[in-house]
């Protein structure tokens, strides 16, 4: 009986230790990613965003007061761009110049 309780306790301690080690390893991997690859990811996202912003302007420009395409084409694109509209409008509202490029920005200093 006592042996079984002891075994259970040892198992529980081992499992807790393994869990802690796993969490530590995961945190270390995330830290390393933050130190290294995360910046590339952010920049790649910013580059994609710039291209998408141009696409949004030429298709949905009328949403921010720039009629760029006949509405029939805009309507065809509409289902694909709806998820992006709110983020795109927020970005456009923050920019001081119409096609301000991320890499030449002072990041709001």
């Amino acid at each position: 009986m006592a042996e079984s309780v002891l075994k259970q306790r040892v198992d529980a301690t081992t499992a807790a230790l393994a869990h802690r080690l796993f969490r530590g390893w995961k945190a270390a991997k995330q830290f390393l990613y933050g130190l290294t690859g995360y910046e590339f990811t952010r920049h790649a996202l910013a580059m994609r965003h710039e291209l998408e912003a141009i696409f949004m302007v030429v298709t949905m420009g009328d949403l921010i007061g720039i009629p760029m395409m006949p509405p029939i084409y805009s309507l065809r694109f509409l289902p694909y761009v709806v998820p992006e509209i709110s983020a795109w409008k927020r970005q456009m509202a923050r920019k001081r110049e119409f096609l301000e490029k991320e890499e030449y920005d002072l990041h709001g200093l």
Binding site: K26, L32, G34, L35, E39, M47, A87, R94, L106, L109
Partner: protein, 597 residues
């Protein structure tokens, strides 16, 4: 005294300051609430505002704030006053001011919709603060660029063993950008190739030393061994002052560095600046990682490399040159900037990191945690220069760091090569970013009044030209201390904003207000001392000797010092007015602190 003891002091500082002070402030005063929506969640756009895991953000923020600052500052301070004052300031600075500034700036931005310091200052203090901030940023970057280009040019000129590694770093950086963004290669493979080749180039440095030495000699032979510029430098001849000579080889390396930085400033960021920084990061991280653990265990396994060689304390007021003065207060507190406290961290924290904070509970580990990690970097630099002892400060640092690395079985000569290269790499990659930000700041600051400044080539060229002028004056220590003063003033400004913000909410503002007052008075005093030193120690001897270039350079530095002081006074007066206004107003009803996590 050995390094193990100092590392233990550092570890204890981090533990006590984080658990006993920082956590208490986070819980009692800032009252971070994990349930409150952060700007990253409220305004998520997938680019600037993006909720990010705290561990990733910790790495990202640490990498963004850790540069050459903690290394150069510790080297200069240990050389001037000894290792003990430097160690005490590092420990006290990070415990009571450094983390406060970094963490509070992030909290300020998170609670103010992710706004930058200037935007918050515009609202809380006065509208002209943003303009003053631009002035600050440009001149302090200029001072930093001048100091870094000068240091790098002299190290490259005197250490031909580093040339191959540095050339390969630039080439591999360009290749990495192409691999990642054009050829769409995986990051791991591209990293292994580019970092591996750069590392081999650095380790092979001693083999190519003779060839590059011959190259430098050939450059100097072009003028028959005559210097291009001669000036009085009070830091030479064991701080007694002597004539310094700028040889063609030094000018060549200074111009080469500026061309590299110019390219980094005008090319798309993915093409050069970002990948070069990335490759450089691995080299530096490797050297620092091996060095820090080497310093910790060196005392046990290789005691010879872990014994302090320089005096614990040298003097309260070391004399630099015939008329120079360098009192411990206030000069130590601006000489060591980034390892103890830095305004740049607060600036970056508000515009970069605060917009990615997923949960208010992450503000402390990310903001304060990164500052404590930077403190360890400063501590490592201090240990390296304290055990190195041989030659000029940078050489002593490389010698000491090389000793720590050699604990792991790397031959001493190769380890010193790696240490030298890691120093140059971290300074070089930061300098190109400095020129980039200088160019953008100049465009934003003067572009609307003088349209040519909006052209990136014009703005970059002017920035490079001003930096070269500062290099030709040569007084590296004064340049560094002026930069440190501007940087610490920025920290004082961010602490001022936090104090005003806390007062506006009726919270206890003392934890930010007292460090702000100390930093404000100290940095203002240090600017006056530096301006005095520059005038009597550099400007006057050179004007008597009729040397025009050093006169223009040191005169420019005196003007910059006075401009910084005036800007600081304006900001201080505006801040005090705003503070008193909020203090007189009845405090809002207190908000219940969230349950302890």
């Amino acid at each position: 005294m050995n390094t193990l003891f100092a590392v233990a002091v550092g570890a204890l500082t981090v533990y006590l300051a984080y658990t006993q002070y920082a956590r208490r402030i986070d819980r009692k005063i800032i009252q971070s609430d994990p349930k409150r929506a952060t700007p990253a969640k409220l305004y998520m756009d997938g680019v600037d505002f993006m909720p990010t895991n705290r561990n990733i953000l910790f790495g990202y923020h640490f990498k963004s704030i850790a540069a050459a600052g903690p290394i150069v500052g510790a080297i200069e301070a240990a050389t001037l006053w000894g290792w003990l004052p430097a160690l005490i300031w590092l420990v006290l600075g990070v415990s009571f001011i450094g983390w406060v500034s970094d963490y509070s700036a992030i909290a300020l931005s998170v609670r103010n919709e992710g706004n930058s310091l200037s935007a918050v200052a515009h609202r809380l203090v006065s509208p002209r603060t943003r303009l003053l901030l631009f002035l600050f940023i440009f001149f302090y970057l200029l001072l930093l660029a001048g100091a870094f280009v000068g240091i790098m040019a002299s190290v490259l000129e005197s250490q031909p063993r580093t040339h191959l590694g540095i050339i390969l770093l630039v080439v591999m950086g360009l290749l990495l950008g192409q691999m990642l963004y054009r050829w769409k290669m995986g990051l791991v493979v591209a990293t292994l190739i580019t970092v591996g080749i750069t590392l081999m180039g650095i380790l092979a440095g001693p083999l190519t030393e003779a060839a590059f030495k011959g190259f430098n000699a050939a450059l100097n032979a072009m003028t028959g061994g005559t210097p291009i510029v001669t000036y009085f430098d009070p830091t030479l001849a064991n701080f007694k002052g002597a004539e310094a000579k700028i040889m063609p080889s030094l000018l060549f390396w200074a111009i080469a560095i500026c061309i590299f930085c110019y390219a980094g400033s005008v090319l798309p960021i993915w093409r050069m600046a970002q990948p070069v920084v990335y490759v450089g990061f691995w080299i530096t991280a490797l050297a620092m990682f091996l060095g820090l653990f080497g310093a910790a265990v060196g005392a046990l396994f290789k005691p010879a490399v872990a014994q302090f060689q320089i005096p614990a304390f040298k003097a309260w007021n070391p004399q630099l040159g015939p008329a120079g003065t360098m009192p411990l207060w206030p000069m130590l507190f601006v000489t060591i900037a980034c390892g103890a406290v830095s305004g740049w961290h607060a600036l970056f924290g508000t515009v970069g990191t605060a917009r990615q904070i997923e949960n208010e509970a992450d503000m402390l580990p990310v903001g304060a945690g990164s500052m404590f990690a930077e403190f360890l970097l400063g501590l490592l630099a201090l240990l390296a220069v304290s055990v190195g002892a041989k030659g000029a400060p940078v050489a002593a640092f490389a010698n000491g760091l090389g000793g720590f690395i050699s604990v792991w079985g790397v031959p001493r000569d190769y380890a010193v090569s790696l240490a030298f290269a890691s120093f140059i790499v971290i300074v070089l990659v930061v300098t190109q970013l400095i020129f980039r930000v200088m160019r953008v700041t100049l465009s934003e600051w003067l572009g609307e009044v003088i349209p040519p400044f909006r052209n990136q080539h014009v703005a970059s060229f002017i920035s490079v030209l001003l930096a070269i002028l500062l290099v030709l004056t040569g007084t590296r220590i004064y340049l560094w201390q002026l930069f440190g003063a501007a940087n610490q003033l920025m920290a004082a400004l961010s602490l001022l904003l936090v104090t005003v913000w806390l007062a506006s909410m009726g919270r206890n503002w003392l934890y930010a207000g007292l460090p702000m007052a100390f930093m404000y008075v100290t940095t203002a005093a240090s600017i006056l001392v530096t301006a005095y030193n520059l005038y009597y120690n550099v400007y006057q001897p050179n004007i008597v000797a009729g040397r025009i270039v050093p006169v223009i350079g040191s005169g420019l530095m005196v003007v910059v010092a006075l401009l910084l002081l005036v800007a600081a006074l304006f900001i201080g007066v505006d801040g005090l007015r705003a503070f008193l206004k909020y203090l007189r107003r009845p405090a809002p009803a207190p908000r219940a602190a969230p349950a302890r996590r």
